[in-house]
Symmetry: C2
Subunit: 380 residues, 2 copies
């Protein structure tokens, strides 16, 4: 293998795939980036047990020559050092030459780097995925669906299935659900797909979805998504992103969600978020994050928290609408803030069915998002 | 105590003093911020065992009214919560009222906070300092003198005196020296002061000097510095910063600095920094940071590092000037980069007296800075 390549193009591709290289690889090859060179493409691949990312650099793109390939071939280079050194090379042009035993020489300006390369035959093979049904979703939409659900996924490895986000496709509606048993986030969208194409129990790690989010280009292009038996493939412009589907059965969450309420509130998102944020500061000192919400006589609500050592925060807030029974309820303010930060609507609906029953939060301007937070059982 | 005060003014003053409040106070009062209110000033003070910071808000400043004082008085409030909550208060105006047992009520908009205040009589008293001799130094200069020396101070508490920067005033020349026994940084400046006013063995914690740096206003105003027996006081516009002088005798460093060289180099700062930075990346993987420098026949130097597992980086660099014997030397590249990053000159002088003797680094355009790095004893 021998080629000269644009430093920036190489660096961009390295940055895209690097996240999939193991930082503590079980065997050295898993901590590497594979480079495959032919006369059309320079392809970079990194893969740990959960995700694989592949990025393509076109050798000649219209009139732009990104690389000059003298001899096709492959090599695997240790990711960590390779990622850092390419960024810092002195010239805009980088030459890479692989010799005997995958000994690799990288040259740029008056810098010469000898690297111990590894055998590309030992690199993991990417899953082969049959691309029968393809979901096409705009990049911005998938990014906001991820952002609006991952917050409720569990971070505890005790129940691995809950560290993921559940994907369901039913009658051309795609639904994401995440829950850690204390709170739940759900987000749906209509997709342009044959209504006979359905799936359920597809669960993807929330951490992986966050990685995917970072790779989705800022230009709002369509992302092709292929859901296979145990893998999902995301196809972006010049990047392929493969992720494993989590094993296990996602719990049925439909029963915990009430749809008749004893108390209903409509609140201004920014105002309620700021008020809870101040109460949270005090509740955090108690390490409980308990904040209380109470309806008052005059269409106001009171938000409060207290700490035995520090004192008490009391906030008054006008409800845009208030219906039903008077209410006193306590909840984890951190969980509530997580929801309020991502919900992207100016006014919110809050539905309550008494102080011991789940709190429902929904945007006022659409039906695509729904959040549930379980209250604290506390003497209010 | 009862007053109304501008949230921004209060917040600025809190941010200035907060660093001096203990984060893990031995007694609660040391984790507090003291507020003293009279009809001229609202004064905030925080103090741990090492530093004390005081910030003044003028009640009426020309035509601007920063505070309305109804009843003078004092209280101590727990710093951590107070710092965070004031920032987030909803209105531009904050009222503070202290009642029985220092119970404090803070109001802003429709937010009410009750805080458990502490007795100001129990708060540490600031050192009284006789202000006979005052050093006046421009803020920018003191900031760059700090930045250009603290890097060489020790971070190990095993030799506490070396965690400080030595200050010496001799014949109107102020000199800062820092060393951790592996490297040394020195920076001097002429000061406008009576040549009979001298001091030596004034050692101030490098960490404290970094804190001071952050408080020095961006406008390049003069800072008044008062050096007393065991305290140094820095007087800025509306802030007083007191620091303890470290106990102990600073070692005599003058003997380790050679002034006759066997090999002399002049190098372009940016080029040598970039080359060493790339070599550092590989040396770091070996956990040694060893980088080698060798003079070559043709007026070039070679900078290199190697790792048994990864490979080798080799850099060639043209010397602007080269005099004396051929040289091969090895050093800690991290220490060298620390120097190259702060030295602020386009070309640098490097003086060598053989592979086992200290390396001297000086800017080419002035004599105010000097750095020493001890080489590694290694088979080059």
């Amino acid at each position: 293998m021998k080629l000269t390549i644009s430093k920036n193009k190489l660096n961009d591709a390295i940055q895209q795939v690097a996240k999939a290289a193991s930082t503590r690889p079980a065997i050295p090859i898993l901590g590497g980036i594979k480079i495959d060179v032919n006369h059309q493409f320079v392809t970079l691949t990194a893969s740990d047990t959960d995700i694989s990312i592949q990025s393509f650099i076109t050798v000649e793109q219209e009139d732009i020559i990104n690389a000059q390939v003298e001899k096709p071939g492959s090599v695997v280079l240790p990711a960590k050092f390779f990622v850092e050194i390419v960024k810092k090379l002195p010239s805009e042009e980088v030459s890479i030459e692989v010799g005997a035993q995958y000994q690799t020489i990288i040259r740029s300006g008056s810098t010469e780097i000898q690297m111990v390369g590894l055998d590309p035959e030992e690199f993991p093979i990417l899953p082969s995925i049959e691309q029968d049904d393809i979901l096409q979703i705009p990049g911005d939409l998938i990014r906001s669906m991820i952002r609006q659900t991952v917050l409720a996924a569990s971070t505890s490895e005790q129940t691995p299935i809950l560290t993921g986000v559940l994907w369901r496709l039913h009658e051309s509606e795609l639904k994401f659900i995440a829950t850690d048993r204390h709170r739940l986030a759900s987000r749906t969208t209509k997709v342009d797909v044959d209504s006979n194409y359905n799936f359920s129990n597809i669960v993807i790690s929330a951490k992986t979805l966050n990685e995917l989010s970072r790779l989705i280009p800022d230009q709002n292009t369509l992302i092709d998504i292929v859901v296979a038996d145990n893998q999902v493939l995301f196809k972006m412009d010049n990047v392929l992103f493969y992720t494993r589907i989590l094993d296990g059965t996602y719990p049925d969450t439909s029963k915990i969600i009430p749809n008749v309420f004893e108390t209903e509130l409509v609140l201004d998102t920014k105002k309620v978020m700021d008020a809870i944020d101040r109460a949270y500061l005090m509740s955090r000192e108690e390490k409980t994050n308990i904040v209380r919400l109470a309806t008052m006589e005059d269409g106001q609500i009171e938000i409060s928290s207290s700490s035995t050592e520090l004192g008490r925060v009391t906030e008054q807030l006008e409800a845009k609408e208030m219906k039903g029974d008077p209410l006193r309820i306590a909840f984890n303010s951190k969980y509530m803030l997580d929801v309020l930060k991502v919900i992207d609507s100016e006014q919110l609906f809050f539905g309550f069915t008494g102080p011991m029953r789940p709190i429902i939060i929904r945007p006022m301007d659409h039906d695509f998002s729904m959040y549930v937070i379980l209250p604290y059982r506390t003497t209010v």
